[in-house]
């Protein structure tokens, strides 16, 4: 099969579902995956999945993979090849490296479905490259795929869903998890996952981070510290923990380089995990023949990955055969949209909106923001007070009577923007710090006023990290002005890109460890990067070439995003305004010998 109708890159849930839909309609499909066995993230997941019953909720991840593979095996015209890496998407074809025979073959498919999933984010601390410091995925691979323990006692960094789930799995395998560290003041993952872990007696240390991995040739301890509200280490709180493994679970970022190589446009959308390929609700990228599905199109869940895969598959059928089961397509789109309508999906929704995807917004955000939207360009408060609570200082403080809570103090406030003068008094009075000032500007930026009760108060012109509702860093921003208030609730006004205006809700200044590595291939430290920026290398590409950061064998997979964050922090330019540089082929280093040898991939 030199020219399959569909070439699927990645055999995770998204890729498999896309392949199934296409195969059902008789298309000739080739699925390639670089893993030793297909299934992507699913095969490492031993826990029961959440989500939609129709999409295998409450089934364990690895079993879902089995079901999908069984379904796919019904179609004889499908080839599924493992240990096969897609090297690049060139104008003259898609070369695939078969690692088993160490040879390559060039395919020219009619349609391409990129379902390459995500890769892990890296974290800076001293000795972050010491053996025994693993990404969460590596721990899962060792433990759940090979049945080998990564160590005896583990320090987990990050309390998102992955950090929580992997901690649980470690405990299941008999490994002690000493603690889960979380830099922000609340647990990032779902409550239910956290409760599960807490039930095991694993402490989650909020406002804590790791400063250093200790050990000569491999980890035998870690230095940790408490952080203050602005994520700075609190002096005197450092302490050593005796552990032999550090597991980093600080999030995933889409593996979108192949889409970029195909010519597809990427956009930096922090809510979706980083640089994501722009796509429409049919999962078509900005390149006609190329589709995406799953985590590569934005970090989300297996359920949505599967639905997206099916949507992409149906559209590919429609492209090639001229028609597809439209009813089913519509149903899938509705299911997807319904799945995302809950409060915990608000991040995904706002991320997808930036792509101009039609999403079904949750009620509670809609009401407020839209009303405020009619007064675009006017400086005005955004009230994020949705729970019925007995409170009304906003109403009573407004000098022009623009806010009404009404007779029942439990009612939520309603604002009349035509009356509001934008004085900001209400924002300083709200005990819930639930009122933010907001104004769109003409240059695509927005002014966001944040009630701020910490010291020191930042100064005009200073660059700070703008963070979102869960403390996640969204971008860096300059302080436009600070209005001081007698009651100590100052309002810090920031300029941020308008797309982020609705999400920026706090600020902080991180203190990164200067001697920690940012680029493990080329051994480049954070301090070297900062120094070069001060010398005037303020463009990512210039920086890269000057220092060789992200020029190593990993192709910038571990350090690109972090370098951009530092660059943004030092220059005050938001990450989305920085050029991320080119993602050059091949996606994985390949030998001369393998290119010279020609062989098609073999069936699983």
């Amino acid at each position: 099969m030199n020219n399959p109708d569909l070439l699927v890159l990645g055999g995770g849930p998204a890729g498999l579902c896309g392949a199934i839909e296409a195969a059902r309609e008789g298309l000739r499909v080739l699925v390639v995956d670089e893993g030793i066995s297909p299934g992507g993230q699913l095969v490492k997941q031993t826990h029961k999945f959440f989500g939609n019953e129709n999409f295998y909720a409450s089934t364990r991840g690895m079993e879902i993979a089995g079901k999908l593979l069984k379904e796919l095996s019904l179609y004889p015209q499908v080839i599924l090849a493992c240990e096969s890496s897609v090297l690049a998407v060139y104008p003259d074809g898609v070369p695939v490296l078969d690692r088993r025979s160490d040879s390559t073959y060039l395919y020219n498919p009619t349609r391409l479905l990129v379902a390459t999933g995500a890769s892990e984010k890296f974290l800076q601390f001293d000795n972050n490259d010491l053996p025994g410091v693993y990404g969460a995925g590596a721990v899962q691979t060792l433990m759940n795929q090979f049945g080998i323990l990564p160590g005896k006692s583990v320090l987990m960094i990050g309390s998102g869903n992955i950090g929580l789930i992997v901690s649980y799995q470690l405990d299941q395998a008999g490994v002690e998890v000493k603690a889960i560290l979380e830099a922000s003041s609340r647990i990032g993952g779902y409550r239910v996952h956290a409760d599960k872990v807490k039930r095991l007696g694993i402490p989650v240390l909020l406002n804590h981070t790791i400063l250093k991995a200790i050990g000569e040739k491999s980890v035998n301890g870690a230095l940790i510290t408490a952080l203050d509200e602005r994520w700075r280490p609190v002096p005197g709180t450092e302490r050593e923990m005796v552990i032999d493994t550090v597991c980093i679970a600080v999030g995933l970022t889409p593996s979108a380089e192949l889409v970029a190589q195909a010519g597809g446009q990427l956009k930096y959308i922090p809510e979706l995990g980083g640089y994501v390929p722009l796509h429409d609700s049919d999962m078509r990228t900005t390149i006609d023949r190329v589709f995406v599905a799953g985590d590569v199109s934005g970090i989300e869940e297996a359920t949505t990955a599967m639905i997206e895969g099916r949507i992409a598959g149906l559209n590919i059928v429609k492209d090639i055969k001229g028609k597809c089961n439209e009813t089913r397509l519509e149903e899938l789109k509705e299911t997807l949209s319904a799945f995302r309508s809950g409060p915990t999906s608000s991040k995904i929704r706002s991320g997808l909106e930036k792509m101009d995807l039609v999403t079904q917004p949750a009620r509670y955000v809609e009401g407020e923001v839209n009303r405020s939207g009619e007064f675009r360009g006017k400086l005005r408060p955004i009230i994020e007070c949705f729970e019925a609570i007995p409170c009304n200082p906003c109403e009573t403080s407004c000098p022009v009577g623009a806010i009404t809570v009404g007779e029942n103090i439990n009612d939520v406030p309603v604002i009349d923007y035509s009356r509001c003068t934008g004085c900001g008094v209400c924002a300083t009075k709200c005990p819930g710090l639930a009122i933010f000032m907001y104004q769109e500007r003409e240059d695509g930026m927005a002014l966001v006023g944040i009630p701020y009760e910490f010291l020191p108060v930042p100064e005009k012109g200073q660059s700070v990290y703008a963070t979102g509702r869960s403390g996640e860093v969204l971008c860096t921003a300059r302080v436009d002005r600070v209005t001081r208030s007698a009651n100590k609730t100052n309002i810090v006004y920031l300029t941020v890109p308008e797309e982020l205006g609705r999400d920026v809700r706090h600020i902080h200044v991180t203190n990164r460890e200067e001697s920690s590595l940012i680029c493990r291939c080329e051994e480049i430290t954070v301090e070297q990067v900062k120094k070069a920026i001060r010398e005037g290398y303020v463009d990512f590409e210039e920086l890269r070439r000057y220092l060789r950061v992200s020029m190593g064998p990993c192709g910038g997979r571990t350090c690109r995003l972090n370098t951009l964050m530092i660059l943004s922090g030092e220059t005050g330019v938001p990450v989305e305004k920085l050029s991320p540089g080119t993602l050059r082929p091949p996606a994985i280093p390949v030998s001369f010998g393998a290119i010279e040898r020609n062989a098609k991939v073999t069936h699983e």
Partner: protein, 380 residues
């Protein structure tokens, strides 16, 4: 942004940056350097970084030798270590034609004072035992040739020029040039206008387009050239090795990576620089034959850039007869990096003193195409 400047240079590659540097060094600091992307984003940042003095045309030999003087002194003079390494160039002759040509060239080059020698097949094998030199007739070896890092060279020139007062504007695209009665008035960019009397076209692959901005039809067009780099290995290869008939060049960088490329006779002119599988495949089939140890070495990154070509594959360094004070240094084919120091110096002298002083570049005039010309033969 500065809205007035004596000289505006279009193009922040090595040629534009070197010109800015030498203008400032000669006292002319009221200069704006325009770069639509980042410094070295054009051909410069994509090139092999080779610095060779072995040319078939005397003029190229002289320019290159002058440049080598500058490369040698770069760190002291300009203030940045550019990983300059004089590991030599080894040119391989496989046919009788090549053998004759090499002999003739080496004689001419020696006349110019170049430290180049001819090596027999046996001598070459002895010197470079790790290469498969089957079928080799002889080689030409010049130890003072070498290579440097093109990004750092460009950054070095631009930063030093900035320190002397030149205004370097990256992410600024020159869109139009307003001309009145044959005189340049204004350069219009996407970020504002610059009132200026003198414009230097150092737009590399876009030199033809930059010429069109003042209504000139400059005889240059661009061709895609691809190149790739392998994972780093311990250092073994000093010289940059070229074979013209086998159509390849290869060198090892300071960090240990091998960089190599070839020309593609099937390329059509254009501005497309997406790399192709065809190139990777052809190189992988070919290179391990000459360097057997490469077989298991992995390729890390692959990209392409533009060769800006004139009709004789030699640069055009001149000023326009029709548009007053419109200078151009263009059409460098595959050797603009190595010539940039001497070219930048000469061009700056021309602008400041009314004539190039350090080297004679009269043979590189635009008029030569009206007279008839010989094509540079030593090109990949």
């Amino acid at each position: 942004m500065k809205n007035k400047a004596c000289v505006t240079i279009i193009g922040g590659g090595v040629v534009g940056s070197a010109t800015a540097y030498y203008l400032a060094k000669n006292g002319l600091t009221d200069v704006v350097l325009l770069e639509r992307d980042y410094l070295s984003s054009g051909s410069t940042g994509r090139c092999g970084g080779g610095i060779r003095q072995q040319w078939s045309e005397r003029m190229n030999v002289r320019l290159a030798m002058r440049s080598v003087e500058h490369f040698k002194n770069f760190e002291r003079e300009v203030g940045l270590n550019i990983e300059y390494f004089q590991g030599g160039y080894l040119l391989l002759a496989y046919t009788e034609e090549e053998e004759a040509l090499f002999k003739k060239n080496v004689a001419m080059q020696q006349e110019e004072g170049l430290d180049v020698v001819l090596l027999s097949r046996e001598e070459t094998v002895r010197k470079f035992p790790f290469m498969n030199l089957e079928g080799l007739k002889l080689s030409a070896y010049c130890p003072s040739d070498g290579h440097a890092n093109p990004h750092l060279t460009t950054f070095g020139y631009a930063r030093a020029a900035e320190k002397m007062g030149v205004n370097v504007l990256t992410h600024t695209d020159a869109k139009r040039v307003l001309v009145e009665n044959g005189k340049i008035r204004t350069v219009v960019t996407d970020r504002g206008e610059i009132e200026t009397g003198i414009v230097v076209n150092a737009a590399g692959g876009y030199s033809h387009q930059a010429g069109e901005m003042v209504g000139l039809n400059l005889p240059t067009e661009s061709y895609r050239h691809q190149i790739f780099v392998t994972e780093p290995l311990e250092h073994i290869l000093d010289p940059l090795v070229i074979s013209f008939v086998n159509n390849f060049y290869i060198r090892q960088t300071g960090s240990g990576n091998f960089i190599m490329g070839q020309g593609d006779r099937d390329e059509l002119p254009g501005l497309e620089i997406t790399p192709t599988w065809k190139f990777l495949k052809e190189m992988s089939d070919k290179m391990p034959r000459f360097f057997p140890f490469l077989k298991d070495v992995r390729i890390l990154r692959h990209w392409a850039g533009l060769y800006n070509m004139s009709p004789d594959a030699q640069p055009i360094i001149d000023r326009s007869n029709e548009i007053e004070d419109f200078y151009f240094a263009i059409g460098f084919s595959g050797h603009g990096f190595m010539l940039a120091p001497a070219v930048g110096e000469a061009l700056a002298e021309w602008i400041v003193f009314g004539e190039p002083r350090s080297v004679d570049i009269s043979n590189l005039s635009l008029q030569r195409f009206e007279r008839g010309f010989t094509r540079e033969k030593n090109v990949v």
